[in-house]
């Protein structure tokens, strides 16, 4: 069965094939065929990924060079794939969740014309391809190719409904924000090349002695800047909520389950570098935690169903970075996995709600949907419980692993993180209660139109709900079940298990009980708080939160407007009175000179001859003097 690893290059190539077929044939293929191709290639990749995963589980890994991608003198950057524990886990998440979302999309996007339907699926397949390249690349350059590819697909899919100017602006914002981060990543790659002369993971991680401590800190911080762009952390997170302009399955796939976790993957992959820099890890942890809290507070007061989920995603990503920062890399990756399940579920369930409401996204105009949308309601409830972290749902285990690591690292981090967990539970149940219980607050037409989504959508929801429930069982902490923490053991060849921090078993159990208790209290509080709610205009801090701490306005004031102003000044000073004046001056000088010289050409032969004689005399005189 070794040969499954040998053909692992097919895993990214199949979605690429799907992209080509759907992209080129979007005008001729029928919608059902496009759907079959789009989902089929991802399903095949998923099957291959399972095969690869089983191989990797038995301890077989693969690093395969295919050809020289860049070859300059002594620098050789091969186009190489690396399949090991970390990448095979991501392969499963990407192709598995990706396949489910593809299936969901077929039904969700059924109102599109065949041409746009084909465009949509070709983008989705291209995204899966890029994401697989990202996680399979055996060096930073190949990873960067995938990194840029997913950024491009994110842009294309946010701006999928390109006739809406606002959506295009959101797409631009996402792209520009990502580019800022990418620059950091790129500089880090150059730095690594200049020190090591190679970007292959194996060579970089075995030659860390060539780095000085300053190099390590700089490289890891630059990599982290890249991660803040892609994974929506402070200060580059503002693109993610706006990215909700894209179709809901896209939000689920790209902006919740997979692409935004690319930063986590990159840091987990570079864990050897991060282990060497205390400063970088602290920066990662603090930025992650602050993002988690900030996004959670914003989510408290939002009214758009997708925006709440978007801020929740930013917040959860913050937790993953917190885990990475405190050195619990496998806990971070574990949370990536469980988050992929329950956040994809929540987004798809939200998509189902939006679908039923005929495009309405404001939760103030919903309410009482649990009667009509039974499956959606139950799955959404499961997602909420999972994200809130109630045992034994998946979110509990991954979040608990993070909290425990934070506790072992620093008590203050733990307390703040625990506060964030309560906020998470609170805003998720606020969302759930306002949307699904109480009385219906929409129009009569919407009320009449309410219906459960077709089976293609609900089946996907059910599968994801099951995964959200059981997904955590791969990482049961050792204190509850001996050998239950399978994921850490599985990842140990890539992510060395560090010496366990001194947290006694009783403390661990106590912490678990405490967080569970707090979460349950918060849920109950939220449940009764929002049962029969009215929506008064917010004042004071509420208004501040509703307006997202005015971060967008702040960026607008300190970055966008000064740059626009600078552009205006340069336009006036440099362009108009500098370059333009010079160019126009040349033209004017020629015209003026011509007008003056015109008088010489009088037409009088005598004057011509006179000039001729004078100039000849001048030349003689000149030569006479120059001869010396």
């Amino acid at each position: 069965m070794q040969n499954v690893l040998q053909i692992s290059w097919l895993i990214p190539m199949l979605p690429l094939l799907g992209f080509l077929i759907n992209g080129l044939g979007r005008k001729t293929l029928s919608k059902s065929l496009i759907g079959i191709i789009g989902c089929g290639v991802v399903l095949l990749s998923f099957v291959l990924s399972i095969g690869v995963f089983l191989q990797v589980k038995n301890g077989n890994t693969l690093v395969a060079d295919y050809f020289d991608f860049i070859s300059v003198r002594s620098l050789h950057i091969p186009f190489a794939f690396q399949v090991d524990q970390l990448s095979s886990l991501f392969l499963l998440i990407i192709t598995g969740v990706g396949f489910l979302i593809h299936v969901y999309s077929v039904s969700y996007m059924h109102e599109e014309t065949p041409e746009h339907f084909g465009r949509y699926f070709s983008y989705l397949n291209l995204f899966i391809f890029s994401m697989l390249i990202l996680v399979m690349g055996a060096n930073y350059v190949i990873m960067f190719i995938g990194w840029e590819g997913v950024g491009l697909c994110s842009y294309l899919l946010i701006g999928y409904w390109f006739k809406n100017t606002e959506y295009n602006k959101a797409a631009n914002k996402a792209f520009v924000m990502n580019r800022i981060g990418d620059l950091g990543f790129l500089i880090a790659i150059f730095w690594i090349i200049s020190k090591i002369g190679s970007t292959n993971f194996s060579e970089v991680f075995s030659n860390t002695s060539k780095f000085s401590p300053g190099d390590i800190t700089a490289i890891t911080l630059l990599l982290f800047i890249g991660a803040t762009g892609k994974s929506a952390q402070i200060p580059l997170y503002t693109w993610l909520p706006d990215a909700m302009a894209g179709p809901t399955p896209v939000s689920a796939l790209i902006h919740a389950a997979t692409m935004v976790t690319a930063g986590i993957y990159m840091i987990a992959r570079s864990n050897i570098l991060y282990s060497m820099s205390e400063l970088s890890r602290n920066v990662v942890a603090i930025v992650g935690l602050v993002t988690a809290i900030l996004a959670a507070t914003i989510a408290l007061k939002q009214n758009d169903i997708k925006k709440i989920l978007a801020y929740s995603t930013v917040s959860q990503l913050g937790y993953m970075f917190l885990a990475l920062g405190v050195g619990a890399y496998s806990a971070g990756v574990f949370h990536v996995m469980t988050h992929a399940f329950f956040k994809a579920l929540l987004f798809l369930a939200a998509g189902s709600v939006i679908h039923a409401m005929g495009g309405e996204q404001d939760i103030r105009k919903m309410g009482g949907l649990s009667g009509k949308l039974k499956t959606t309601y139950i799955t959404f409830l499961i997602g909420c419980i999972a994200i809130a972290g109630v045992p034994p749902f998946s979110g509990f285990f991954s979040k608990d692993a993070i909290l425990l690591s934070a506790f072992g690292h620093n008590k203050i981090l733990y307390v703040i993180a625990l506060l964030g967990v309560m906020l998470t539970a609170f805003y998720m149940f606020r969302l759930l209660v306002i949307t699904f219980s109480g009385r219906f607050r929409g129009t009569d037409e919407q009320k009449h139109h309410l219906h459960e989504s077709p089976p293609a959508m609900t089946v996907v929801l059910i599968i994801l709900a099951v995964l959200s429930v059981i997904g955590g069982f791969v990482g049961i902490p050792a204190v509850l079940m001996k050998g239950g923490d399978m994921i850490t053991g599985f990842l140990s060849p890539v992510i060395p298990v560090k010496a366990v921090e001194a947290v006694s078993q009783s403390t661990e159990l106590l912490l678990m009980g405490l967080s569970t208790l707090l979460v349950v209290i918060t849920i109950v509080f939220a449940w009764f708080r929002f049962r029969n709610c009215s929506f008064p205009a917010s004042k004071g801090i509420g208004k501040l939160l509703e307006n997202k701490w005015y971060v967008d306005e702040l960026y607008d004031t300190i970055i966008v407007r000064p740059i626009n102003k600078l552009g205006e000044i340069l336009n006036e000073a440099l362009e108009k009175s500098g370059i333009d004046a010079f160019v126009n001056g040349v033209g004017k000088a020629v015209l003026y000179g011509g007008r003056q010289l015109r008088w010489l050409q009088s037409g009088q032969v005598g004057s011509y001859v006179l000039l001729m004689v004078i100039s000849m005399l001048l030349f003689f005189v000149l030569q006479f003097f120059l001869r010396k």
């Binding site: 009088s602 037409g603 009088q604 032969v605 005598g606 004689v613």
Partner: protein
């Protein structure tokens, strides 16, 4: 006879020619002045040629004839020029009934 005499005579003739060309308006006189200038140059060429090879001329009869050959070329060219130039002047007179060059200021248009 020293060379200076020839040079001064040539310069005098040449300056007369130039002055004539610059000051006179009658095309025929301008024409004659050009001829004077050409002949001033011819005279100088013959004189230089003769004087330069004075030492050799005693033994070699052909020494110093190349400069004089140039004069023949100039004479031939001048003759051709005269035929063309006079034809132009004739045409000019036929058209504007004058040989005054100041009437011929159409070049600027």
């Amino acid at each position: 006879m020293p060379i200076n005499y020839y040079i001064f005579l040539s310069i005098a003739l040449f300056v007369i020619g130039i002055t004539g060309v610059l000051t006179r308006r009658n095309a025929i006189i301008i024409f004659m002045c050009i001829e004077i200038m050409l002949n001033a140059v011819n005279l100088l060429l013959v004189a230089f040629s003769k004087m330069h090879h004075l030492a050799k001329a005693a033994t070699d009869a052909t020494a110093g004839t190349d400069g004089q050959l140039f004069v023949f070329f100039i004479m031939v060219v001048a003759a051709a020029e005269v035929s063309v130039g006079l034809a132009i002047i004739v045409m000019m007179y036929r058209n504007i009934h004058s040989v005054d060059v100041n009437f011929l200021n159409r070049l600027k248009h």
